[in-house]
């Protein structure tokens, strides 16, 4: 892979399996992507393609009975696996990797004041490497961090940031809560923010504002972001690079503009065709995402693919470089590229 700068977050060949009553299910199968410093990388795919598992795997929070079977995740060149061990995880989650959850209505603890919740991670992790407040006595430290929270809340454009600290989550609207959570993700000045469909639960106008805010804040603060979504429209608005996932596998990855203008993998093309703004004739994709318990042999997309060639049903396509800085995992594309 031809990454110009060394990747900040480097996911290589990551596979995750979960033990179920009916056998072992392969949730992620050889996922690859690189997040360059200061950029926003979109991960796009249908529900059930393993996007959320990917985030959990990076954070070392795979649920019970799931495990990473293969591959590696590295942050700044240091492998993150072993994150299951509390001590390592402690220095990564919150401190180096911020997280923005999907549903702002459910993610905040209903019986604690917002200020206390925003303070929590900072209290344990400090506010970045140049944070001088960590050695201060408790009261001073608390005051310093509270000021930082107010500053962050102002940055996410929450009205009355000083008053917000003493309020409870149910006193905020959905959009406001998402702003609170963005502030929380940035609180410890992490290098990377993982966002798990942070706009899905919001109405369209709020979505737009939040996306603008995210773009602005990451640029200003030099934070890189991995943004998971099922919506190509959001990717177009926000991201620099994108990875398309299908049934736990990376099918295509590359700069947003190229992938969206000239999608090479059939799945990417069909997914883009589902989007009302991009396609004159609105299409769906026939069939459904296969069960991870019994994934189809060969390329996992082959049962739904209109352009199957015999190779697709026998071997698994590798993610290989294609035109214009892209990588594609498709036998047909490989065959066309190398005549």
């Amino acid at each position: 892979m031809t990454a110009s700068a060394p990747a900040l977050l480097d996911v290589r060949n990551l596979s995750v399996a979960v033990d179920t009553d009916e056998g072992v299910a392969s949730i992620l199968d050889g996922v690859n992507f690189q997040l360059a410093p200061g950029s926003i990388h979109g991960v796009v795919g249908e529900s059930g393609c393993g996007k959320s598992t990917l985030i959990k795997a990076i954070l070392g929070l795979l649920p019970a009975r799931s495990r990473a079977t293969e591959g590696s995740v590295a942050l700044n060149g240091k492998p993150l696996f072993g994150l299951e061990q509390a001590s390592t995880a402690h220095s990564v989650r919150g401190r180096q990797i911020g997280f923005i959850p999907q549903d702002p209505f459910l993610a905040l603890n209903p019986v604690f004041r917002v200020g206390d919740q925003l303070l929590e991670a900072m209290w344990w992790h400090g506010a970045g490497s140049d944070d001088t407040n960590r050695e201060k006595p408790r009261a001073q430290r608390r005051r310093a961090y509270s000021e930082r929270i107010v500053e962050l809340l102002r940055a996410v454009q929450l009205p009355d940031p000083e008053l917000a600290l003493a309020r409870y989550p149910h006193q905020f609207s959905g959009g406001q809560r998402q702003r609170l959570l963005i502030a929380a993700a940035l609180a410890c000045a992490p290098q990377v923010v993982l966002a798990d469909e942070p706009t899905t639960a919001l109405d369209v106008t709020t979505q737009l504002q939040i996306l603008k805010l995210l773009r602005q804040l990451t640029r200003e603060r030099g934070v890189s972001m991995m943004f998971v979504t099922h919506d190509f429209g959001v990717v177009a608005q926000l991201c620099d690079t994108v990875t398309v996932m299908y049934a736990g596998q990376t099918v295509e990855t590359g700069p947003v503009a190229t992938v969206m203008e000239q999608p090479s993998h059939p799945y990417t093309r069909m997914l883009l065709a589902c989007h009302p703004e991009r396609s004159v004739e609105l299409k769906g994709i026939p069939g459904a995402v296969p069960s991870p318990l019994r994934p189809p042999a060969g390329c996992r997309f082959n049962p739904r693919c209109p352009e199957v060639i015999p190779d697709c049903e026998s071997g698994r396509p590798k993610l290989l470089p294609a035109s214009a800085g892209r990588h594609v995992a498709c036998f047909r594309c490989h065959a066309e590229a190398v005549p």
Binding site: I55, R93, P110
Partner: protein, 336 residues
């Protein structure tokens, strides 16, 4: 909050009045004439008739009730037939003993039950969880009065470690009356020796009394924590890098405890009921043993008064529970 309190108080009043009517009727509908009981076993019909007149039992029931309510409203609950003292004074003297006993049992049950429940939920389906389950199911199945006797057999009679009965040794003067609760009173008056003695006397009764509540609190907490652990905010808190211990013991616990607290009102009823048996066994001079004595001697003014007082306490406890609930969960306070 103020409005919530007022509304609860107003709601409690008719229930208490109803309780009085109910007890009054129950005591009379039952085919037994209090005058017969009052007169004793060898009374002549004339004596019974005289008592009936003297106590107003010959009046229609409703008039008797009106008279009684009038007395209650002026704070006069009548005289006990057994102790020949004003019932209100008997109760006032005995109430602190029961309150101290019940409070100690509740504190013990809470301090042990909540951590047990949390640990059982965090390590659920482990050997520890199963052990906790055995203890809680057993704790609810054991007859407290029997268990008290067995513990007396072992710790008081056989090993001689713990006193058999009472709040203090017979020859010892109780501490100066401040709250009426011996343990805080002896501390407040600087009598560490008395504190230790009364604590020593408290161990067995409070422990046996607490068993049922301990089991309930453990179960509620375990179920509550298990439910809370499924919530999205817990996975968010993990992902956001809160330390695991803080998540469990602060963020999850506070959410689960809300449900447990609302159950303490119910537990209080169970504790008062338990106190009836435990006080009898340990000769504990509280209103539980007073109630048994009143009932066994058909001391009907005392029975009515105990019922009323227990009803009032019950209503107050539920009020406190509502307040605590509102304090723990900001959403409750706003709904009201």
């Amino acid at each position: 909050m103020g409005r919530l309190l007022l509304r609860r108080l107003l709601l409690a009043l008719p229930a208490l009045l109803g309780l009085l009517v109910l007890t009054f009727i129950l005591l009379r509908v039952v085919p037994s004439d209090p005058s017969t009981a009052l007169a004793g076993e060898n009374a002549t019909p004339e004596q019974i008739e005289a008592i009936r007149k003297a106590y107003g039992f010959d009046q229609p029931l409703w008039r008797q009730f009106v008279v009684y309510i009038g007395q209650v409203a002026t704070g006069d609950l009548g005289n006990s037939i057994f102790t020949e003292q004003p019932v209100i004074r008997d109760i006032a003297r005995r109430l602190p003993a029961t309150i101290e006993l019940v409070l100690m049992a509740l504190i013990f049950a809470t301090c042990v039950g909540i951590p047990l429940g949390v640990l059982a939920a965090v390590h659920h389906n482990s050997a520890f969880d199963h052990a906790v389950r055995v203890i809680t199911v057993g704790g609810l199945a054991i007859a407290p009065f029997w268990f008290a006797i067995i513990l007396q057999l072992i710790f008081s009679m056989d090993l001689n470690w713990l006193p058999l009965r009472g709040r203090l040794p017979v020859q010892v003067q109780p501490p100066e009356f401040i709250t009426g609760l011996y343990m805080p009173d002896s501390l407040l008056s600087g009598r560490l020796d008395l504190f230790l003695q009364s604590a020593h006397h408290m161990i067995l009764p409070a422990f046996t009394l607490s068993l049922g509540s301990l089991a309930s609190i453990t179960r509620f907490t375990r179920a509550g924590v298990l439910e809370t652990l499924q919530k999205d905010f817990v996975s968010y808190e993990r992902a956001a890098g809160y330390p695991d211990r803080r998540i469990i013991w602060v963020y999850v616990l506070r959410n689960s405890v809300v449900a447990t607290v609302t159950q303490i009102g119910l537990l209080f009823g169970a504790l008062i009921a338990g106190a009836v048996a435990i006080e009898t066994i340990f000769d504990w001079p509280g209103i539980g043993s007073y109630a048994v004595q009143a009932i066994l001697t058909s001391d009907y003014k005392a029975i009515l008064a105990v019922t009323l007082v227990v009803g009032v306490i019950y209503a107050l406890v539920n009020l406190v529970v509502d307040i605590v609930h509102a304090l723990l969960d900001p959403r409750v306070a706003e709904e009201n």
